[in-house]
Protein backbone atom coordinates (compact mmCIF):
# COMPACT_ATOMS: atom_id res chain seq x y z
CA UNK A 1 0.00 0.00 0.00
CA UNK A 2 1.45 3.37 -0.95
CA UNK A 3 0.17 6.91 -1.07
CA UNK A 4 -0.63 6.93 -4.78
CA UNK A 5 -2.86 3.84 -4.86
CA UNK A 6 -4.64 4.30 -1.53
CA UNK A 7 -4.03 7.75 -0.03
CA UNK A 8 -6.65 7.80 2.72
CA UNK A 9 -5.91 4.39 4.19
CA UNK A 10 -2.18 5.07 3.88
CA UNK A 11 -2.43 8.22 5.98
CA UNK A 12 -4.83 6.51 8.39
CA UNK A 13 -2.44 3.57 8.90
CA UNK A 14 0.47 5.96 9.44
CA UNK A 15 -1.54 7.97 12.00
CA UNK A 16 -2.67 4.78 13.75
CA UNK A 17 0.93 3.58 13.99
CA UNK A 18 2.02 6.97 15.32
CA UNK A 19 -0.72 7.13 17.97
CA UNK A 20 -0.27 3.57 19.21
CA UNK A 21 3.49 4.21 19.22
CA UNK A 22 2.82 6.98 21.75
CA UNK A 23 1.21 4.42 24.01
CA UNK A 24 -2.45 5.09 23.20
CA UNK A 25 -4.78 2.05 23.50
CA UNK A 26 -5.77 0.57 20.14
CA UNK A 27 -9.52 1.27 20.27
CA UNK A 28 -8.99 4.92 21.27
CA UNK A 29 -6.45 5.43 18.50
CA UNK A 30 -8.75 3.97 15.83
CA UNK A 31 -11.68 6.03 17.17
CA UNK A 32 -9.52 9.15 16.99
CA UNK A 33 -8.38 8.36 13.44
CA UNK A 34 -12.02 7.81 12.37
CA UNK A 35 -13.00 11.13 13.97
CA UNK A 36 -10.17 12.92 12.15
CA UNK A 37 -11.41 11.35 8.90
CA UNK A 38 -14.94 12.67 9.51
CA UNK A 39 -13.65 16.15 10.36
CA UNK A 40 -11.44 16.24 7.25
CA UNK A 41 -14.30 15.13 4.96
CA UNK A 42 -16.75 17.64 6.45
CA UNK A 43 -14.19 20.48 6.29
CA UNK A 44 -13.42 19.64 2.67
CA UNK A 45 -17.11 19.80 1.78
CA UNK A 46 -17.51 23.11 3.62
CA UNK A 47 -14.58 24.61 1.72
CA UNK A 48 -16.07 23.40 -1.57
CA UNK A 49 -19.35 24.92 -0.38
CA UNK A 50 -17.70 28.37 -0.12
CA UNK A 51 -16.66 28.19 -3.75
CA UNK A 52 -20.10 26.87 -4.77
CA UNK A 53 -21.49 30.28 -3.78
CA UNK A 54 -19.13 31.86 -6.30
CA UNK A 55 -19.94 29.25 -8.98
CA UNK A 56 -23.68 29.67 -8.51
CA UNK A 57 -23.47 33.47 -8.77
CA UNK A 58 -21.19 33.35 -11.81
CA UNK A 59 -23.36 30.81 -13.65
CA UNK A 60 -26.63 32.60 -12.93
CA UNK A 61 -24.99 35.77 -14.19
CA UNK A 62 -24.11 34.08 -17.49
CA UNK A 63 -27.69 32.76 -17.84
CA UNK A 64 -29.06 36.26 -17.24
CA UNK A 65 -26.50 37.97 -19.49
CA UNK A 66 -24.66 39.71 -16.65
CA UNK A 67 -21.09 39.58 -15.36
CA UNK A 68 -21.72 38.40 -11.80
CA UNK A 69 -19.23 39.04 -8.99
CA UNK A 70 -16.13 40.63 -10.54
CA UNK A 71 -14.69 43.16 -8.07
CA UNK A 72 -13.03 41.22 -5.24
CA UNK A 73 -10.06 39.15 -6.43
CA UNK A 74 -9.54 37.66 -9.89
CA UNK A 75 -12.97 36.90 -11.47
CA UNK A 76 -14.51 37.88 -8.13
CA UNK A 77 -13.38 34.63 -6.53
CA UNK A 78 -12.80 36.26 -3.11
CA UNK A 79 -16.44 37.47 -3.11
CA UNK A 80 -17.80 34.53 -1.02
CA UNK A 81 -15.30 35.34 1.74
CA UNK A 82 -16.57 38.91 1.81
CA UNK A 83 -20.11 37.47 2.00
CA UNK A 84 -19.12 35.26 4.92
CA UNK A 85 -17.61 38.19 6.84
CA UNK A 86 -20.81 40.13 6.21
CA UNK A 87 -22.97 37.24 7.45
CA UNK A 88 -20.87 36.77 10.57
CA UNK A 89 -20.86 40.43 11.67
CA UNK A 90 -24.57 40.93 10.96
CA UNK A 91 -26.85 41.36 13.96
CA UNK A 92 -28.28 38.06 15.08
CA UNK A 93 -32.00 38.54 15.68
CA UNK A 94 -34.26 36.07 17.43
CA UNK A 95 -37.90 37.06 16.93
CA UNK A 96 -40.28 37.55 19.84
CA UNK A 97 -42.17 34.40 20.68
CA UNK A 98 -39.61 32.20 18.97
CA UNK A 99 -38.87 28.82 20.48
CA UNK A 100 -35.17 29.49 21.09
CA UNK A 101 -33.74 25.99 21.24
CA UNK A 102 -35.59 24.68 18.19
CA UNK A 103 -35.00 27.96 16.35
CA UNK A 104 -31.24 27.57 16.77
CA UNK A 105 -31.20 23.83 16.17
CA UNK A 106 -32.97 23.98 12.79
CA UNK A 107 -30.17 25.55 10.66
CA UNK A 108 -27.66 23.09 12.11
CA UNK A 109 -29.89 20.11 11.27
CA UNK A 110 -30.47 21.54 7.80
CA UNK A 111 -26.77 21.63 6.95
CA UNK A 112 -26.17 18.35 8.79
CA UNK A 113 -28.70 16.48 6.65
CA UNK A 114 -26.65 17.43 3.57
CA UNK A 115 -23.25 16.65 5.10
CA UNK A 116 -24.58 13.25 6.20
CA UNK A 117 -25.02 12.34 2.54
CA UNK A 118 -21.27 12.60 1.92
CA UNK A 119 -20.67 9.69 4.29
CA UNK A 120 -21.71 7.27 1.54
CA UNK A 121 -20.29 9.07 -1.51
CA UNK A 122 -17.44 7.01 -2.97
CA UNK A 123 -15.00 9.63 -4.32
CA UNK A 124 -12.85 6.76 -5.56
CA UNK A 125 -12.93 2.98 -5.02
CA UNK A 126 -10.81 3.44 -1.88
CA UNK A 127 -11.79 6.97 -0.80
CA UNK A 128 -15.15 6.61 0.83
CA UNK A 129 -16.66 7.11 4.27
CA UNK A 130 -18.65 3.91 4.52
CA UNK A 131 -19.89 1.49 1.87
CA UNK A 132 -23.44 1.06 3.18
CA UNK A 133 -25.36 -1.81 1.61
CA UNK A 134 -28.54 0.29 1.85
CA UNK A 135 -27.08 3.42 0.23
CA UNK A 136 -30.15 4.36 -1.82
CA UNK A 137 -32.42 4.28 1.22
CA UNK A 138 -29.87 6.21 3.24
CA UNK A 139 -30.21 9.16 0.85
CA UNK A 140 -33.95 9.32 1.58
CA UNK A 141 -33.32 8.92 5.31
CA UNK A 142 -30.93 11.87 5.36
CA UNK A 143 -33.52 13.84 3.39
CA UNK A 144 -36.06 13.10 6.13
CA UNK A 145 -33.87 15.00 8.59
CA UNK A 146 -33.76 17.92 6.12
CA UNK A 147 -37.58 17.94 5.97
CA UNK A 148 -37.69 17.93 9.74
CA UNK A 149 -35.31 20.91 9.94
CA UNK A 150 -37.61 22.93 7.67
CA UNK A 151 -40.66 22.28 9.86
CA UNK A 152 -38.65 23.08 12.98
CA UNK A 153 -37.35 26.35 11.52
CA UNK A 154 -40.80 27.44 10.39
CA UNK A 155 -42.63 26.54 13.56
CA UNK A 156 -40.00 27.99 15.89
CA UNK A 157 -39.89 31.31 13.99
CA UNK A 158 -43.45 32.15 15.07
CA UNK A 159 -44.19 33.61 11.63
CA UNK A 160 -47.12 32.83 9.34
CA UNK A 161 -45.15 33.22 6.12
CA UNK A 162 -42.55 30.81 7.45
CA UNK A 163 -45.21 28.25 8.33
CA UNK A 164 -46.86 28.59 4.92
CA UNK A 165 -43.51 28.01 3.25
CA UNK A 166 -42.84 24.94 5.35
CA UNK A 167 -46.30 23.47 4.64
CA UNK A 168 -45.70 23.83 0.92
CA UNK A 169 -42.17 22.51 1.09
CA UNK A 170 -43.12 19.46 3.12
CA UNK A 171 -45.97 18.67 0.73
CA UNK A 172 -43.44 18.74 -2.10
CA UNK A 173 -40.73 16.79 -0.28
CA UNK A 174 -43.01 14.03 0.94
CA UNK A 175 -44.61 13.50 -2.46
CA UNK A 176 -41.51 13.70 -4.65
CA UNK A 177 -39.73 11.20 -2.42
CA UNK A 178 -41.92 8.49 -3.97
CA UNK A 179 -40.78 8.73 -7.64
CA UNK A 180 -37.25 9.43 -6.41
CA UNK A 181 -37.06 6.21 -4.44
CA UNK A 182 -38.67 4.28 -7.31
CA UNK A 183 -36.08 5.54 -9.79
CA UNK A 184 -33.23 4.89 -7.37
CA UNK A 185 -34.37 1.26 -7.35
CA UNK A 186 -33.67 1.02 -11.09
CA UNK A 187 -29.86 1.32 -10.78
CA UNK A 188 -30.26 -1.02 -7.80
CA UNK A 189 -31.92 -3.63 -10.03
CA UNK A 190 -29.35 -3.18 -12.80
CA UNK A 191 -26.39 -3.39 -10.40
CA UNK A 192 -27.89 -5.96 -8.03
CA UNK A 193 -26.89 -3.87 -5.02
CA UNK A 194 -27.90 -0.72 -3.15
CA UNK A 195 -24.30 0.12 -2.24
CA UNK A 196 -23.00 3.17 -4.08
CA UNK A 197 -19.57 1.66 -4.75
CA UNK A 198 -21.03 -1.50 -6.27
CA UNK A 199 -23.45 0.51 -8.43
CA UNK A 200 -20.47 2.40 -9.86
CA UNK A 201 -18.37 -0.73 -10.30
CA UNK A 202 -21.08 -2.44 -12.34
CA UNK A 203 -21.55 0.49 -14.73
CA UNK A 204 -19.50 -0.80 -17.64
CA UNK A 205 -22.18 0.97 -19.64
CA UNK A 206 -23.46 4.11 -17.95
CA UNK A 207 -26.99 3.63 -16.64
CA UNK A 208 -28.08 6.79 -18.43
CA UNK A 209 -27.87 4.62 -21.57
CA UNK A 210 -29.68 1.64 -20.04
CA UNK A 211 -32.28 3.73 -18.22
CA UNK A 212 -32.48 7.27 -19.65
CA UNK A 213 -36.06 7.81 -18.43
CA UNK A 214 -35.07 6.87 -14.89
CA UNK A 215 -32.22 9.37 -15.05
CA UNK A 216 -34.64 12.08 -16.18
CA UNK A 217 -37.21 11.32 -13.48
CA UNK A 218 -34.50 11.19 -10.82
CA UNK A 219 -33.25 14.60 -11.91
CA UNK A 220 -36.76 16.12 -11.78
CA UNK A 221 -37.45 14.60 -8.37
CA UNK A 222 -34.04 15.76 -7.13
CA UNK A 223 -34.76 19.35 -8.19
CA UNK A 224 -38.09 19.15 -6.37
CA UNK A 225 -36.39 17.74 -3.27
CA UNK A 226 -33.96 20.65 -3.36
CA UNK A 227 -36.83 23.13 -3.43
CA UNK A 228 -35.26 24.99 -6.35
CA UNK A 229 -37.07 26.64 -9.24
CA UNK A 230 -39.37 25.53 -10.88
CA UNK A 231 -40.33 23.90 -7.57
CA UNK A 232 -39.30 26.77 -5.27
CA UNK A 233 -42.73 27.20 -3.67
CA UNK A 234 -41.15 27.04 -0.24
CA UNK A 235 -39.60 30.47 -0.61
CA UNK A 236 -41.53 31.98 -3.56
CA UNK A 237 -40.38 35.58 -3.07
CA UNK A 238 -43.42 37.11 -4.76
CA UNK A 239 -45.90 35.21 -2.58
CA UNK A 240 -44.53 34.46 0.86
CA UNK A 241 -41.36 36.60 0.94
CA UNK A 242 -38.76 33.97 1.85
CA UNK A 243 -40.61 31.00 3.24
CA UNK A 244 -39.30 29.01 6.16
CA UNK A 245 -36.08 31.00 6.73
CA UNK A 246 -37.75 34.44 6.70
CA UNK A 247 -36.82 35.24 10.32
CA UNK A 248 -33.22 34.06 10.15
CA UNK A 249 -30.39 36.56 9.94
CA UNK A 250 -26.63 36.42 9.67
CA UNK A 251 -24.84 33.10 9.76
CA UNK A 252 -27.98 31.16 10.71
CA UNK A 253 -29.46 32.13 7.35
CA UNK A 254 -26.00 31.40 5.93
CA UNK A 255 -26.26 27.80 7.13
CA UNK A 256 -29.57 27.33 5.28
CA UNK A 257 -28.10 28.91 2.18
CA UNK A 258 -24.89 26.88 2.33
CA UNK A 259 -26.96 23.75 2.93
CA UNK A 260 -29.10 24.45 -0.12
CA UNK A 261 -26.11 24.99 -2.43
CA UNK A 262 -24.25 21.94 -1.14
CA UNK A 263 -27.46 19.92 -1.43
CA UNK A 264 -27.73 20.81 -5.12
CA UNK A 265 -24.09 19.88 -5.68
CA UNK A 266 -24.58 16.65 -3.72
CA UNK A 267 -27.59 15.62 -5.79
CA UNK A 268 -25.57 16.41 -8.90
CA UNK A 269 -23.04 13.97 -7.46
CA UNK A 270 -25.63 11.28 -6.76
CA UNK A 271 -27.05 11.68 -10.23
CA UNK A 272 -23.52 11.14 -11.56
CA UNK A 273 -23.02 8.11 -9.30
CA UNK A 274 -26.33 6.45 -10.16
CA UNK A 275 -26.50 7.23 -13.86
CA UNK A 276 -23.21 8.64 -15.20
CA UNK A 277 -20.77 6.04 -13.91
CA UNK A 278 -19.55 7.90 -10.83
CA UNK A 279 -15.78 8.06 -10.75
CA UNK A 280 -15.40 5.95 -13.91
CA UNK A 281 -14.49 7.63 -17.17
CA UNK A 282 -13.28 5.25 -19.93
CA UNK A 283 -10.53 3.69 -17.82
CA UNK A 284 -9.10 7.04 -16.73
CA UNK A 285 -10.01 6.19 -13.13
CA UNK A 286 -7.34 3.45 -13.10
CA UNK A 287 -4.64 6.14 -13.00
CA UNK A 288 -5.22 6.53 -9.28
CA UNK A 289 -7.81 7.42 -6.65
CA UNK A 290 -7.03 11.13 -6.84
CA UNK A 291 -7.82 11.18 -10.56
CA UNK A 292 -11.01 9.18 -9.86
CA UNK A 293 -12.08 11.68 -7.19
CA UNK A 294 -11.45 14.55 -9.63
CA UNK A 295 -13.61 12.78 -12.25
CA UNK A 296 -16.48 12.38 -9.76
CA UNK A 297 -16.19 16.03 -8.74
CA UNK A 298 -16.28 17.12 -12.38
CA UNK A 299 -19.37 15.00 -13.02
CA UNK A 300 -21.03 16.35 -9.87
CA UNK A 301 -20.33 19.87 -11.10
CA UNK A 302 -21.94 18.93 -14.42
CA UNK A 303 -25.04 17.71 -12.58
CA UNK A 304 -25.03 20.90 -10.50
CA UNK A 305 -24.78 22.95 -13.68
CA UNK A 306 -27.83 21.11 -15.13
CA UNK A 307 -29.79 21.89 -11.95
CA UNK A 308 -28.79 25.55 -12.22
CA UNK A 309 -29.72 25.62 -15.91
CA UNK A 310 -33.22 24.39 -15.08
CA UNK A 311 -33.48 26.76 -12.12
CA UNK A 312 -32.70 29.89 -14.07
CA UNK A 313 -34.73 29.14 -17.19
CA UNK A 314 -37.98 27.54 -16.02
CA UNK A 315 -40.74 29.43 -14.26
CA UNK A 316 -42.31 28.49 -10.94
CA UNK A 317 -45.12 25.92 -11.12
CA UNK A 318 -48.34 26.36 -9.15
CA UNK A 319 -48.63 23.97 -6.21
CA UNK A 320 -51.72 22.10 -7.41
CA UNK A 321 -50.12 21.62 -10.83
CA UNK A 322 -46.97 20.39 -9.20
CA UNK A 323 -48.72 17.87 -6.96
CA UNK A 324 -50.87 16.67 -9.86
CA UNK A 325 -47.71 16.35 -11.96
CA UNK A 326 -46.14 14.20 -9.26
CA UNK A 327 -49.03 11.95 -8.27
CA UNK A 328 -50.80 11.59 -11.62
CA UNK A 329 -47.79 11.51 -13.93
CA UNK A 330 -44.35 11.05 -12.36
CA UNK A 331 -45.24 8.40 -9.76
CA UNK A 332 -47.17 6.05 -12.09
CA UNK A 333 -44.47 6.51 -14.72
CA UNK A 334 -41.71 5.72 -12.25
CA UNK A 335 -43.46 2.56 -11.08
CA UNK A 336 -44.23 1.43 -14.64
CA UNK A 337 -40.60 1.97 -15.49
CA UNK A 338 -39.50 0.05 -12.40
CA UNK A 339 -41.68 -2.96 -13.28
CA UNK A 340 -40.61 -2.90 -16.94
CA UNK A 341 -36.92 -2.61 -16.07
CA UNK A 342 -37.14 -5.50 -13.62
CA UNK A 343 -38.92 -7.64 -16.23
CA UNK A 344 -36.53 -6.78 -19.08
CA UNK A 345 -33.53 -7.27 -16.80
CA UNK A 346 -34.74 -10.75 -15.91
CA UNK A 347 -35.52 -11.61 -19.56
CA UNK A 348 -32.31 -10.28 -21.10
CA UNK A 349 -29.86 -11.28 -18.39
CA UNK A 350 -28.42 -14.28 -20.23
CA UNK A 351 -28.01 -12.55 -23.59
CA UNK A 352 -24.92 -10.84 -24.98
CA UNK A 353 -24.16 -7.34 -23.76
CA UNK A 354 -25.07 -5.75 -27.12
CA UNK A 355 -28.57 -7.25 -27.10
CA UNK A 356 -28.96 -6.35 -23.41
CA UNK A 357 -28.04 -2.69 -23.94
CA UNK A 358 -30.21 -2.38 -27.04
CA UNK A 359 -33.17 -4.09 -25.36
CA UNK A 360 -32.99 -1.84 -22.29
CA UNK A 361 -32.61 1.28 -24.40
CA UNK A 362 -35.50 0.29 -26.70
CA UNK A 363 -37.76 -0.38 -23.68
CA UNK A 364 -37.09 3.15 -22.49
CA UNK A 365 -37.54 4.71 -25.90
CA UNK A 366 -40.84 2.90 -26.55
CA UNK A 367 -42.18 3.77 -23.09
CA UNK A 368 -41.09 7.38 -23.57
CA UNK A 369 -42.83 7.51 -26.94
CA UNK A 370 -46.08 6.12 -25.48
CA UNK A 371 -45.88 8.69 -22.66
CA UNK A 372 -45.43 11.56 -25.11
CA UNK A 373 -48.41 10.33 -27.17
CA UNK A 374 -50.62 10.10 -24.05
CA UNK A 375 -49.55 13.59 -22.99
CA UNK A 376 -50.29 14.97 -26.44
CA UNK A 377 -53.77 13.47 -26.46
CA UNK A 378 -54.40 14.83 -22.96
CA UNK A 379 -53.29 18.35 -23.83
CA UNK A 380 -55.37 18.34 -27.04
CA UNK A 381 -58.48 17.35 -25.06
CA UNK A 382 -57.69 20.04 -22.46
CA UNK A 383 -57.31 22.64 -25.19
CA UNK A 384 -60.61 21.67 -26.79
CA UNK A 385 -62.33 21.77 -23.41
CA UNK A 386 -61.01 25.27 -22.68
CA UNK A 387 -61.37 26.82 -26.11
CA UNK A 388 -64.60 25.08 -27.14
CA UNK A 389 -64.92 22.87 -30.25
CA UNK A 390 -65.74 25.68 -32.73
CA UNK A 391 -62.74 27.79 -31.84
CA UNK A 392 -60.48 24.75 -32.04
CA UNK A 393 -61.69 24.25 -35.61
CA UNK A 394 -61.19 27.93 -36.38
CA UNK A 395 -57.58 27.65 -35.31
CA UNK A 396 -56.77 24.94 -37.83
Amino acid sequence: MNFWTDPVNFVAQWLLGLLTGWGMPGWLASLLVQLIGVVVLVSMMMVIDIFLVWIERKVVARFQDRLGPNRVGPFGIIQPFADIIKLIIKEDITPNGADKLIYNLAPILSLMSVLLLWAIVPLAPVILGVDLNVGALYIIAAGAIGTLSIIMAAWASNNKFALLGAFRQVAVLVSFEVPMLATMLIPTILAGSMGMNEIIQSQNVWYIVLAPLAGLIFMIAAIAELGRAPFDLNEAESEIVAGYHIEYTGMKFGLFYAGELLHAFTFGGFWAILFLGGYRFFGLENLGPIVAAAILMAKALFGYWLIMWVRYTVMRIRIDHMLAFNWKFLTPLAFTLLILTALMNALLRGTSSGVYILGMLLTNVILGWIIVEILRGFSRRERERVEGPQQAVAHQ
Binding site: N133, L137, A141, I145, L148, W155, F167
Partner: protein, 169 residues
Protein backbone atom coordinates in the same frame (compact mmCIF):
# COMPACT_ATOMS: atom_id res chain seq x y z
CA UNK B 1 -17.41 -3.17 29.55
CA UNK B 2 -17.06 -3.13 25.79
CA UNK B 3 -17.42 -0.16 23.49
CA UNK B 4 -20.74 -1.46 22.10
CA UNK B 5 -22.15 -1.79 25.61
CA UNK B 6 -21.29 1.83 26.39
CA UNK B 7 -23.06 2.99 23.22
CA UNK B 8 -26.03 0.77 24.05
CA UNK B 9 -26.35 2.19 27.56
CA UNK B 10 -26.16 5.79 26.29
CA UNK B 11 -28.74 5.05 23.57
CA UNK B 12 -31.06 3.31 26.02
CA UNK B 13 -30.84 6.26 28.43
CA UNK B 14 -31.62 8.68 25.59
CA UNK B 15 -34.59 6.58 24.44
CA UNK B 16 -36.08 6.30 27.93
CA UNK B 17 -35.44 9.94 28.79
CA UNK B 18 -36.94 11.29 25.59
CA UNK B 19 -39.90 8.90 25.84
CA UNK B 20 -40.54 10.30 29.31
CA UNK B 21 -40.37 13.83 27.89
CA UNK B 22 -42.93 12.89 25.19
CA UNK B 23 -45.58 12.16 27.80
CA UNK B 24 -44.61 14.80 30.34
CA UNK B 25 -43.99 17.96 28.29
CA UNK B 26 -46.99 20.25 27.93
CA UNK B 27 -46.04 21.70 24.56
CA UNK B 28 -47.41 19.38 21.90
CA UNK B 29 -44.84 20.22 19.20
CA UNK B 30 -42.07 19.61 21.73
CA UNK B 31 -43.67 16.26 22.49
CA UNK B 32 -43.57 15.37 18.78
CA UNK B 33 -39.92 16.40 18.54
CA UNK B 34 -39.03 14.35 21.62
CA UNK B 35 -40.80 11.43 19.97
CA UNK B 36 -38.44 11.85 17.03
CA UNK B 37 -35.47 11.58 19.40
CA UNK B 38 -36.95 8.34 20.76
CA UNK B 39 -37.50 6.89 17.28
CA UNK B 40 -33.98 7.88 16.24
CA UNK B 41 -32.63 6.10 19.31
CA UNK B 42 -34.43 2.93 18.22
CA UNK B 43 -32.77 3.29 14.80
CA UNK B 44 -29.39 3.45 16.59
CA UNK B 45 -30.29 0.21 18.42
CA UNK B 46 -30.97 -1.48 15.07
CA UNK B 47 -27.62 -0.22 13.79
CA UNK B 48 -25.85 -1.69 16.84
CA UNK B 49 -27.47 -5.04 16.01
CA UNK B 50 -26.04 -4.88 12.44
CA UNK B 51 -29.57 -4.51 11.02
CA UNK B 52 -28.65 -1.66 8.66
CA UNK B 53 -31.77 -2.05 6.53
CA UNK B 54 -34.12 -1.83 9.50
CA UNK B 55 -32.17 1.13 10.91
CA UNK B 56 -32.50 3.13 7.71
CA UNK B 57 -36.15 2.14 7.20
CA UNK B 58 -36.85 3.20 10.80
CA UNK B 59 -35.55 6.70 9.97
CA UNK B 60 -37.31 6.89 6.58
CA UNK B 61 -40.71 5.67 7.78
CA UNK B 62 -40.94 6.85 11.36
CA UNK B 63 -39.06 10.17 11.19
CA UNK B 64 -39.54 11.00 7.52
CA UNK B 65 -43.24 10.16 7.34
CA UNK B 66 -45.02 9.39 10.60
CA UNK B 67 -43.43 11.98 12.89
CA UNK B 68 -43.85 14.70 10.28
CA UNK B 69 -47.49 13.68 9.87
CA UNK B 70 -47.90 13.98 13.65
CA UNK B 71 -46.48 17.50 13.62
CA UNK B 72 -48.80 18.43 10.77
CA UNK B 73 -51.82 16.97 12.50
CA UNK B 74 -51.00 18.92 15.67
CA UNK B 75 -50.48 22.18 13.78
CA UNK B 76 -53.62 21.83 11.68
CA UNK B 77 -55.99 20.71 14.42
CA UNK B 78 -54.87 22.68 17.46
CA UNK B 79 -55.09 26.38 17.89
CA UNK B 80 -53.20 26.36 21.15
CA UNK B 81 -49.99 24.32 21.29
CA UNK B 82 -50.01 24.11 25.08
CA UNK B 83 -51.92 21.33 26.78
CA UNK B 84 -53.48 22.62 30.00
CA UNK B 85 -55.48 19.67 31.28
CA UNK B 86 -54.40 17.26 34.02
CA UNK B 87 -51.61 14.95 32.88
CA UNK B 88 -52.73 11.87 34.80
CA UNK B 89 -56.14 10.22 34.71
CA UNK B 90 -57.73 8.04 37.36
CA UNK B 91 -56.46 4.75 35.98
CA UNK B 92 -52.76 5.64 36.03
CA UNK B 93 -51.81 3.18 38.79
CA UNK B 94 -53.41 0.31 36.87
CA UNK B 95 -51.38 1.17 33.76
CA UNK B 96 -48.21 1.47 35.83
CA UNK B 97 -48.75 -2.03 37.24
CA UNK B 98 -49.38 -3.46 33.76
CA UNK B 99 -46.25 -1.76 32.40
CA UNK B 100 -44.08 -3.12 35.23
CA UNK B 101 -45.59 -6.61 34.82
CA UNK B 102 -44.98 -6.58 31.05
CA UNK B 103 -41.38 -5.50 31.51
CA UNK B 104 -40.81 -8.07 34.23
CA UNK B 105 -42.43 -10.81 32.16
CA UNK B 106 -40.31 -10.02 29.10
CA UNK B 107 -37.17 -9.86 31.23
CA UNK B 108 -37.95 -13.19 32.87
CA UNK B 109 -38.72 -14.81 29.51
CA UNK B 110 -35.61 -13.52 27.77
CA UNK B 111 -33.34 -14.56 30.62
CA UNK B 112 -33.88 -18.18 29.66
CA UNK B 113 -32.70 -17.45 26.09
CA UNK B 114 -29.07 -18.27 25.31
CA UNK B 115 -28.55 -15.16 23.16
CA UNK B 116 -29.59 -12.81 25.97
CA UNK B 117 -26.13 -12.02 27.28
CA UNK B 118 -24.25 -12.24 23.94
CA UNK B 119 -23.15 -9.35 21.74
CA UNK B 120 -24.46 -9.31 18.16
CA UNK B 121 -21.98 -11.26 16.03
CA UNK B 122 -20.50 -9.55 12.96
CA UNK B 123 -21.54 -10.86 9.59
CA UNK B 124 -18.85 -12.83 7.73
CA UNK B 125 -17.26 -10.59 5.09
CA UNK B 126 -19.14 -10.56 1.81
CA UNK B 127 -22.39 -11.67 3.46
CA UNK B 128 -25.28 -9.92 1.71
CA UNK B 129 -27.66 -9.30 4.62
CA UNK B 130 -30.06 -7.09 2.64
CA UNK B 131 -30.24 -9.62 -0.20
CA UNK B 132 -30.96 -12.43 2.27
CA UNK B 133 -33.72 -10.34 3.87
CA UNK B 134 -35.24 -9.63 0.47
CA UNK B 135 -35.19 -13.31 -0.48
CA UNK B 136 -36.70 -14.33 2.85
CA UNK B 137 -39.57 -11.89 2.35
CA UNK B 138 -40.62 -13.36 -1.00
CA UNK B 139 -39.66 -17.03 -0.70
CA UNK B 140 -42.50 -19.54 -0.15
CA UNK B 141 -40.54 -21.21 2.65
CA UNK B 142 -39.88 -17.81 4.24
CA UNK B 143 -42.27 -15.00 5.02
CA UNK B 144 -44.15 -14.48 1.77
CA UNK B 145 -47.60 -14.97 3.32
CA UNK B 146 -47.27 -12.42 6.18
CA UNK B 147 -45.55 -10.05 3.77
CA UNK B 148 -48.38 -10.23 1.23
CA UNK B 149 -51.09 -10.04 3.90
CA UNK B 150 -49.46 -6.87 5.25
CA UNK B 151 -49.30 -5.45 1.72
CA UNK B 152 -53.01 -6.12 1.14
CA UNK B 153 -53.84 -4.54 4.50
CA UNK B 154 -51.88 -1.41 3.61
CA UNK B 155 -53.50 -1.27 0.18
CA UNK B 156 -56.95 -1.53 1.77
CA UNK B 157 -56.04 1.30 4.16
CA UNK B 158 -54.86 3.39 1.21
CA UNK B 159 -58.07 2.79 -0.76
CA UNK B 160 -60.09 3.58 2.36
CA UNK B 161 -58.23 6.85 2.90
CA UNK B 162 -58.79 7.88 -0.71
CA UNK B 163 -62.49 7.02 -0.41
CA UNK B 164 -62.88 9.08 2.77
CA UNK B 165 -61.08 12.07 1.27
CA UNK B 166 -62.75 11.83 -2.14
CA UNK B 167 -65.26 14.56 -2.95
CA UNK B 168 -67.94 13.62 -5.43
CA UNK B 169 -68.37 16.03 -8.30
Amino acid sequence: MTFTQIIFLITAAVILGSALMVVSTRNLVHAALWLIVTLFGVAVLYAILNASFLAVVQVVVYIGAIAILFIFAIMLTRREMLDRGPQLNRGWWLNAIIAVLTFGGLFWMLQGWSGFSKAAADFPSGYDAVGQLGKALVSPTGFVLPFEVASVLLLAALVGAVYVAFTRK
